[in-house]
Amino acid sequence: MNENEFARTARAWLDDGPTRMSDRAVLSALEEIHVTHQRRRPWWPARRATPVNIYARAAIAAIVVVSVGLVAINVLPRGSDGSGVGGQPTASQLASASPAVGIPELTQTFVSPMNGFSIGYADDATFDPAKPASDPSVEEGFAGIDFLSGPTYSLRAASAEVPEATSIDAWFDRETGFKPGDPCGGPHGELPEITIDGRSARISTDCPGQIEATVAVGRRAYRFTLYSEASDARAIFDAYASTIDLRPEEAASPPPS
């Protein structure tokens, strides 16, 4: 048997045999696919709280102690000599009794090099700009995310193009890993609305230690997530959110996949 005859014989032998997979087996595969999440490059963080480090916890504790002290000093009745019980607090004393503890003053501006937005930030916070996946200094899975570290909070931001075939709500649900019955978050289309840069956005505050807003401009989807265990986390988030300027045309535009 020469080479050609052997190849022909082998081909005929291989062609012989069952050619159809059973419908039951195909159905079973589809059922398993239905309950299987696609593995996505975590171009932004999953819905889980980032633990606040020990220094941040200490800072929160210190702020609480100082706040309580200030309230005690200014609100408790004083004596007529001004040193103790009795008397009423002055207007200035009342003002200083409720300081905007933890609400940052956002005097700096950060312009994302990849994600197509700018945002204000506080003097005592630092931004680590998003880097492409090709950058060797990027930790695996964290390419394309802008990181901000503040004293009692951190913020991550990223954006991506939503494919034409997918609805914005469905895309956000998939990217945030939402599944019906998930106690953390909700279907994107049913989350409470807020406004970011004049556009309708959605906000999720159900996940412990985390506040997240999502907004789309055309097909570009943005996600801003604040991690904080501070009692005024929502106020911090709102302060940041009010400074966001969405500039999709400036995005470096690498889709997440």
């Binding site: 032998w13 050619t19 494919p163 997918t166």
Partner: protein
């Protein structure tokens, strides 16, 4: 392959992937069956391949390579399946009762049996290379690129597979010849 479907599936469209799965299942099954020579294990392999493909699809950068990519997954799953069952059991392929009569069906059965036995002795890697080459018609280079294995390794696997199967055929031919001569005597 409809690239629009692949693109949609890569973006998370489960329906699009279901269409791909339905359209690919039989083709993948044939390859898996020829490698594993077992219907149930071939079906398991295809199921596992489809689930893995769905899960990992967002990582596929070039959707035009989908076919090669999913076959690579399939072959890897077949390796695992083959390892799971340490012994290989050949399926008995029933001849079609009403099928066309071949001029020399005895020879066909003999050759088939010889190939079945020879194939059963091959390691899965050699079987896969042989199936991809002779059944899908992939060149050595295509197999090498699609499986991510050096060309020389694929060439070597094909060489070993071919010589094992040829040896099985020749051994059978000798036996058959002897039997025929014995009968003639």
């Amino acid at each position: 392959m409809d690239l629009a479907l692949v693109e949609a599936a890569r973006s998370g469209d489960e329906e699009a992937f279901a269409s791909i799965a339905r359209g690919s299942a039989d083709r993948l099954f044939v390859v898996a069956h020829r490698i594993l020579r077992d219907v149930a294990r071939a079906e398991d392999a295809v199921q596992q391949t489809l689930v893995t493909a769905w899960r990992e699809l967002p990582a596929l950068r070039d959707i035009e390579r989908f076919e090669a990519w999913i076959h690579r997954i399939l072959v890897n799953v077949c390796y695992t399946e083959a390892k799971r069952a340490s012994t290989w059991s050949a399926n008995v392929v029933a001849l079609p009762v009403d099928g066309p009569a071949t001029p020399d069906s005895t020879t066909t059965i003999v050759i088939r049996d010889a190939l079945d036995r020879g194939f059963g002795r091959l390691p899965t890697e050699q079987r896969a290379a042989f199936v991809l080459h002779h059944h899908l018609g992939w060149s050595v280079r295509e197999i090498s690129e699609n499986l991510g294995v050096p060309t020389e390794t694929i060439r070597s696997r094909l060489r070993y597979a071919t010589s094992t199967l040829r040896a099985a055929l020749e051994a059978d031919a000798r036996t058959t010849g002897t039997t025929s001569r014995e009968r003639m005597a």
